[in-house]
């Protein structure tokens, strides 16, 4: 029966190809939306790593969150190192991790911090060890892979987050490489807070007016951001308000900002999803018309099948099977195309050293795609199959040639 349905399906190759294309595009759009939104959300959650609050210089909370958690934007400025101690003194704060930004290496950000930052993401050392003193660096897995650096090698950072003058006189020594974690750690160069001060202490001498996380020996130390974990959920209501009340400080709650970001991204997702649904509706209608036409064109064949002993339900099932085969093929192609689009997006993001998306494999929601295709096929086939079920065999077989 399957072979027969397959042959009947391709007896009108142009119509079948058009229906296949429409169904595939619709399902690919749905797959892309399901996969991309799930992956982006998972990627964001992975990078949040339990960070409840980011504290930075006064400015946009979204910018602070993007700079501090995802390392996607420039920070709003620097804050005094003393802020870190102040935050740690707060009873509602369980942990406060400092970040000093300002330099990069081959487009990857150099982050001055403490080893706690690695622990925040559950990072593991794959080769070498953690830094123990300034000007030692631990590379994220992606940085090590693309730069080819390994423990014992030396490199110089560039001034600024997008690459600028090289700090050739301040070379970092690679002491460790992190294992791949799929988080933001993969695309960072981690070093001691003091490394950033050291680099920029000298740099300031040559470049007055520099606003990065460095400071002169005689000036108060600065950091760029502080990542905070709450001791208690009550902190969510109190701590941001307290931070914002401090002069020069701005609190950004990643959960809130991420939700806001997802709402912004969500508008695009909805448009794409709507486009997919319109495509699917058009495909369903097209399949319906094609099947109706097929039943009319092939009613003699179907009547003959009845005469050869096929029960009416088997003849109706043949029509449904045709639709299901088409849907099955479209689901496979749609899933493949959807994954292909996500892979393209992933490549695009990787080139921009942005958010990491997930690997291959079907996510739970994607099982909806074949189900959606099958449901649509059965809906489109219902009336044509009923017509096939009700064929007037006697009349059809006696019709003159």
């Amino acid at each position: 029966m399957i072979r027969l349905a397959w042959r009947y399906l391709w007896s009108s190759p142009l119509t079948t190809a058009l229906n296949l294309l429409l169904l595939t595009l619709g399902l690919a759009a749905v797959t892309f939306v399901l996969r991309a939104s799930a992956q982006v959300e998972a990627g964001l959650k992975r990078d949040l790593a339990g960070i409840d609050l980011v504290v930075g210089a006064k400015g946009s909370p979204m910018q602070i969150m993007l700079a501090g958690v995802f390392h996607l934007d420039a920070p709003t400025g620097n804050i005094p190192l003393a802020t870190l101690a102040l935050l740690k003194q707060q009873p509602l704060v369980a942990q406060a991790v400092p970040l000093s930004l300002g330099d990069s290496f081959q487009g990857y950000r150099i982050v001055g911090t403490t080893p706690e930052y690695i622990d925040l993401y559950g990072g593991k050392i794959a080769a070498g060890e953690r830094w123990t003193k300034p000007m030692q660096a631990v590379l994220g897995a992606e940085v090590a892979r693309t730069s080819g650096l390994k423990p014992g090698d030396r490199f110089a950072g560039s001034h600024g987050l997008a690459g600028g003058d090289a700090h050739g006189e301040h070379a970092f020594e690679v002491v460790g490489v992190l294992a791949e974690s799929g988080s933001v750690l993969d695309r960072l160069v981690l070093t001691d807070l003091a490394s950033v001060w050291e680099v920029h202490g000298d740099h300031h001498e040559a470049h007055e007016g520099h606003d990065a996380a460095g400071a002169h020996e005689d000036e108060p130390r600065e950091i760029t951001l502080a990542l905070v974990r709450y001791r208690s959920p009550i902190a969510a209501a109190m701590l941001p308000r307290w931070v914002n009340a401090q002069e020069g400080l701005q609190a950004a709650a990643p959960a809130l900002e991420t939700a806001r970001l997802m709402r912004l991204v969500g508008a695009g997702t909805e448009v794409l999803r709507g486009f997919g649904i319109v495509l699917l509706a058009a495909a369903g209608l097209s399949v319906w018309v094609a099947l109706l036409h097929a039943v009319r064109a092939r009613q003699g064949d179907l009547a003959m099948l009845r005469m050869l002993g096929a029960p009416a339900r088997r003849v109706a099932a043949l029509i449904a099977l045709e639709a299901l085969l088409l849907a099955g093929l479209a689901a496979l192609l749609g899933l493949a195309a959807g994954h292909g689009f996500v892979a393209l997006l992933e490549r695009l993001l990787a080139e921009r050293q942005s958010l990491r998306l997930g690997a291959l494999g079907l996510s739970t929601a994607e099982w909806l795609v074949p189900l959606l295709a099958a449901g649509l096929a059965l809906l489109a086939a219902a009336w044509p199959a009923w017509r096939a079920y009700r064929l007037d065999v006697t009349t059809l077989l006696q019709a003159p040639r």
């Binding site: 027969l4 003699g300 003959m304 099948l305 009845r306 050869l308 002993g309 006697t394 077989l397």
Partner: protein
């Protein structure tokens, strides 16, 4: 092999047709004659189990069709009946060999390529197995349709107006093919026709009984025998 008694059929409009009792003697084939509207189509549909027997008895190949459910009738038709319809209805989407697999597929069974090859060889069309129906001549298509009808070794081979659209030579050739096939396969041949050429050709054979259906169906009412050849007809106005 084939018998009916008290057989009546009531149409949706309320009119009714009645067939006089009949039994086909063993070892004989049947020519069913009747013009359009004579009730021939209804009788063929009843014989092939496409219409259910409403009243009376209809026994085909030892099975009382009146007692079968629609589902059982479908299965019975596939197992017992081979049909060469007026329009051949060879599927254009399939090759000749695949068309011959349809009877098994219709019954939900696997194809029997050996049987198909045997029949194609017996009908001298073995080389056509891979062709599509539109690549066949009328005569070749008739043979393929006959092979398809014989695939499941039917006990009754039913040909409905087989000579329609055939010239004289092809008509005689086809009749010979049908009779030969029926003899070879050991099945009873039922030919429904109102073609004078068919009637003339079969009238000369003593192994062919004849039923004549007369009268305007559904007004026609009965059938009765005449002469040495078993000829039946529907009397106009009889009840």
């Amino acid at each position: 092999m084939l018998a009916w008694g008290g057989l009546r059929y009531r149409y949706a409009g309320g009119s009714e047709i009645e067939y006089r009792d009949f039994a086909l003697p063993a070892g004989r084939h049947l020519l069913l004659r009747g013009a359009s509207g004579s009730g021939k189509s209804t009788l063929l549909a009843l014989l092939s189990g496409l219409l259910r027997v409403q009243q009376g008895e209809l026994n085909v190949a030892g099975t009382d069709l009146a007692g079968l459910s629609p589902r059982a009738l479908d299965a019975w038709r596939g197992e017992t009946l081979g049909v060469v319809p007026q329009r051949l209805h060879l599927s254009e989407a399939l090759t000749v060999a695949e068309n011959l697999a349809l009877p098994a597929l219709a019954a939900g069974q696997g194809a029997d390529p050996a049987r198909a090859a045997q029949l194609l060889a017996a009908l001298d069309i073995a080389e056509l197995a891979g062709r599509r129906p539109h690549q066949l001549s009328v005569g070749q298509a008739q043979r393929v349709a006959l092979a398809r009808a014989l695939m499941r070794r039917p006990r009754l081979l039913l040909a409905d107006e087989p000579s329609a659209s055939l010239d004289d030579e092809h008509t005689l050739h086809l009749l010979a093919l049908l009779l030969d096939a029926a003899e070879r396969e050991g099945c009873t041949l039922v030919i429904a026709s109102h073609d004078g050429r068919v009637i003339e050709a079969l009238s000369a054979r003593h192994d062919v009984a004849e039923v004549v259906l007369r009268g305007e169906s559904p007004a026609g009412r009965s059938a009765m025998p005449t002469g040495s050849r078993t000829t039946y007809w529907l009397d106009e106005g009889a009840t």
